[in-house]
């Protein structure tokens, strides 16, 4: 039977140590959180651990949630901060450089190319790899702003709430990020 409790009610219940309420909350949002984490990190294996970490944080913070901030904004804020912190710590890790190319796991790519011909699939994979490299070369907040805009469909105003900055700051993040992507990908495509 469908549970009609609002997100706020579920979070309040979860804060009162009701695991069933949190189970329902997770069922509503785990797809979107996983999607954002996958697109931002480009690493499905890390995303599996990160999503658990994020929901553990959400559970601990459930009592502090107030409905004046939309649940998406609140959840995306926790997710964005966690992802940015993770990528910052990974960049400092000397082992990361060696693993960087392996980050685009074949499993992520295979779903897209399954229907295509072998040649087209390879081209698609190469283009996807190129876009991923270009995206990964951006400063993390620019990358997050573009990810939220392009893949999650958030407006500048919503992104400003997630990243806790002004709308004009988001405009600047998106402009600089897209300008850098345009230059990097333009140069790559001309090769």
């Amino acid at each position: 039977m469908y549970d009609q409790r609002t997100d706020f009610e579920l979070l309040k219940a979860a804060a009162g140590k009701d695991p069933d309420a949190f189970r329902l909350f997770m069922a509503r949002y785990q797809d979107r959180v996983y999607g954002l984490v996958c697109r931002f990190t480009g690493d499905r294996e890390s995303a599996r651990d990160l999503v658990q970490d994020i929901f553990l944080k959400v559970y601990r913070a459930a009592g502090s949630y107030t409905p004046d901030a939309g649940v998406f904004t609140w959840l995306y804020r926790i997710t964005a901060n966690h992802c940015i912190n993770f990528m910052q710590s990974r960049k400092r890790d000397p082992l990361y450089a060696a693993e960087e190319d392996a980050a685009l796991t074949p499993g992520v790519l295979s779903a897209v190319s399954r229907a295509a011909t072998q040649e087209t699939a390879l081209e698609q994979q190469e283009r996807a790899r190129m876009v991923r490299r270009a995206l990964d070369s951006l400063p993390l907040r620019q990358k997050m702003a573009i990810t939220l805009l392009r893949f999650e469909g958030l407006s500048y105003k919503e992104i400003s709430r997630v990243l806790e900055c002004s709308v004009s700051a988001v405009e600047s993040l998106v402009f600089r990020g897209m300008d850098a992507l345009k230059k990097t990908l333009g140069a790559e495509l001309e090769k």
């Binding site: 997770m26 797809d31 996983y34 553990l56 779903a111 573009i146 405009e171 897209m178």
Partner: protein
């Protein structure tokens, strides 16, 4: 508005994020300026290229593993509470207090010793007398003292 200023607004224009008045100005500028129009086209192409990133499919179920971690986290929290109840002062604080106490104790001990115990010459004389043939309060010393006393009394 100059082309440089216009170009900073093109992405927001493409995203539909500009106020209507500014969007109208930019739109008419793009119609007249080939360079800015080319810039807009390049940004649009970049925007489309982002879709080359694969869709996320087959989302795993994170609920069982996460709930297990929440449960384990709760157990750890209970253990920490029990430990803090048993040992209200953290071990690090107790160690720090012990070290500070030792330092203060040694310091005070030295000050008291140097102020109230005048051990200089007395100690040195006492120690030197130890090496005499008949050290003070030894049997030999007692024998000599008794002999002197008997001689004085003429015994």
């Amino acid at each position: 508005m100059s082309c440089t200023a216009m170009r900073k607004k093109i992405q927001a224009f493409l995203d539909g994020e500009l106020p209507a008045g500014v969007a109208e100005v930019l739109k008419s500028h793009l119609a007249q300026c080939p360079a800015c129009s080319q810039e807009a086209a390049a940004l649009s192409k970049t925007w489309e290229l982002l879709l080359e990133l694969p869709d996320v499919q087959e989302v795993p179920d994170f609920i069982p593993a996460t709930l297990a971690r929440i449960l384990a986290d709760g157990e750890n929290t209970r253990s920490r509470k029990l430990l803090s109840w048993l040992f209200p002062v953290p071990l690090s604080a107790a160690t720090a207090a012990l070290v500070i106490g030792l330092v203060i104790g040694i310091g005070l001990g030295r000050i008291i010793a140097s102020t109230f115990l005048d051990r200089g010459e007395t100690d040195t004389a006492l120690y030197l007398e130890v090496f005499q043939d008949t050290p003070p309060q030894s049997i030999g010393d007692a024998y000599i003292k008794v002999n002197y006393a008997m001689e004085e009394k003429g015994i």
